[in-house]
């Protein structure tokens, strides 16, 4: 899989999680959407973070949550955490 299509897949998966959590159509969300545009408030954010953690098997730190204000930033945050997770599992002694 090319890096570009992997990235597109990640973005889609994040948007799917958000659409499902918010009960809104996937089509209403794009990578450029801000939480404000999507009427996602802080309480919705808590639900979304919980769902993303479940979906990707990651732990999103509290300070990370506060810096996510758009879909793009959220996808980037998840990508970074997945990369850290992958690096950790590679470092682990066999």
């Amino acid at each position: 899989m090319s890096e570009q299509s992997a990235s597109a897949d990640l973005g889609t998966r994040v948007m799917e999680v958000i659409a499902k959590t918010q009960r809104i159509p996937l089509e209403s969300i794009s990578l450029d959407s801000t939480f404000e545009q999507l009427k996602i408030d802080s309480l919705d954010g808590i639900n979304i973070v919980f769902a993303l953690e479940n979906e990707f098997g990651i732990n999103i730190p509290d300070e990370g949550v506060q810096t996510m204000r758009s879909i793009g930033e959220t996808v980037e945050g998840v990508r970074k955490l997945l990369a850290e997770k992958a690096a950790e599992s590679e470092d682990r002694p066999v």
Partner: protein, 401 residues
């Protein structure tokens, strides 16, 4: 001091999804205590409950709303909508700032808490659903009502077990009477059919294995029920000026604590709450024409309540109709007082006393004029409704037609 008018009623329970449905079944003596939808595994020692089976949350709320609302809060909001619609009130300006919402709930949101414990202790998963706190807080119903109607005055929840909503109504009555509030939405709600809670009630050994038969010699305990009752209380002159129908009046509020035992009732506490309510209403005992009893159907409650009523009302008891509508809508704990307040007000309004159903033979130790199995026509001007809670907390309210 202002008179306190009741200008709106809202009700959801095993007997129906609104006041009209519930009243027609109360007056017809229908028992809503039916086989449990989920009998438990292993089966509970009781096979029946008064479940609000016709209440479907998605008929009333969006999926997104339901993320934040447990069943007890849903029930509260739906009952409040009916009551407010009937009152015709719109909460804007001064009315929004000087209206109150006071709800009763004994246990708050139980389901999310139990789901969390299943994840935590059974599945060893430490990640609990993120909205557990706002879903389970006991004031979730009150806050939802405040949000829906834009009410900015005093909003809070009283939790005194089975007296919760009578305490809530009494508080709201006092506020409107004193002028602290122009109007109040008050009552209570409870959703009890959660496994952990049912097991806890089972362990208390006070739930009847079949149905509840208040004041019958062969009664075997209470039957649990779920539901909500909400009343709009309004400053009398404010209601009169609007020209809307006044459905009845609250005229007296009495409360007491047994300070005797955490679960065993005693006669003195209920006697005091009834006496204080009569004194507050400025009425002699002889003016009361109907008592909606706490009447849980447990051995202890019905015996003690009968003795207390006899002590307060004397020889008049032999011709003072008493019924326990819990025999139809079950014991709804923190909603009990509010549901029974509505039943009492409608009794006064329609001149029909709803019966105590499932009644077999009067317990000779409960020598009251029990309205048994079939409604009775009567036209009392005043009626009294009792709630007595674990913890020894008693509340009596007096209503006027």
């Amino acid at each position: 001091m202002s008179r306190v008018a009741v200008t709106g009623l809202g009700l959801v329970c095993a007997l129906g999804n609104n006041v009209a449905e519930c009243w027609s079944r109360l007056a017809a003596g229908c028992c809503g205590i039916l086989p449990l939808e989920d009998p438990g595994s292993p089966p509970y020692k009781f096979s029946r409950g008064a479940q609000a089976s016709a209440f479907h949350p998605l008929d009333h709320f969006s999926e997104k709303d339901l993320l934040l609302l447990e069943r007890f809060a849903q029930l509260a909001a739906v009952a409040a909508r009916e009551a407010v619609a009937q009152s015709g009130l719109t909460f804007t300006g001064e009315l929004a700032d000087r209206s109150a919402v006071i709800t009763g709930s004994s246990i708050g949101g139980q389901f999310s808490e139990e789901d969390g414990y299943i994840r935590l202790y059974r599945e060893k998963n430490s990640r609990i659903a993120p909205l557990t706190i706002p879903r389970t807080m006991s004031n979730a119903g009150a806050s939802r009502i405040s949000l829906e109607f834009g009410i900015h005055g005093p909003v809070y929840t009283v939790s005194t077990a089975c007296s919760s909503s009578n305490h809530a109504l009494g508080q709201a009555f006092s506020m409107v009477r004193s002028g602290q509030a122009i109007a109040a939405i008050a009552g209570g709600s409870e959703a009890v059919f959660a496994e952990g809670l049912l097991r806890a009630w089972e362990a208390m050994r006070v739930v009847s294995p079949d149905v509840c038969r208040p004041f019958s010699v062969d009664r075997r305990g209470l039957s649990l029920g779920e539901g909500a009752g909400m009343l709009v209380l309004e400053n009398w002159d404010h209601a009169k000026a609007r020209g809307i129908p006044i459905l009845g009046e609250i005229v007296g509020f009495g409360m007491s604590s047994d300070a005797h035992h955490i679960t065993q009732p005693c006669v003195e506490g209920p006697v005091k709450s009834m006496q204080w309510a009569l004194r507050d209403a400025g009425l002699s005992a002889g003016r009361i024409g109907y008592i909606n009893a706490h009447g849980t159907g447990t051995l202890a409650n019905d015996l003690i309540e009968s003795q207390a009523i006899r002590q307060v009302f004397g020889a008049q008891v032999d011709s003072l109709p008493v019924s326990s509508t819990k025999s139809m809508h079950g014991h709804t704990l923190g909603a009990a007082g509010a549901i029974e307040a509505i039943a009492t007000l409608l009794t006064l309004r329609h001149g029909i006393i709803p019966p105590t159903v499932n009644f077999t033979t009067l317990d000779p130790a409960c020598s009251l004029d029990v309205v048994a199995n079939e409604a009775r026509a009567a036209a009392p001007e005043y009626a009294l409704s009792n709630t007595f809670a674990f913890g020894g907390l008693n509340v009596s309210l007096v209503f006027q037609r």
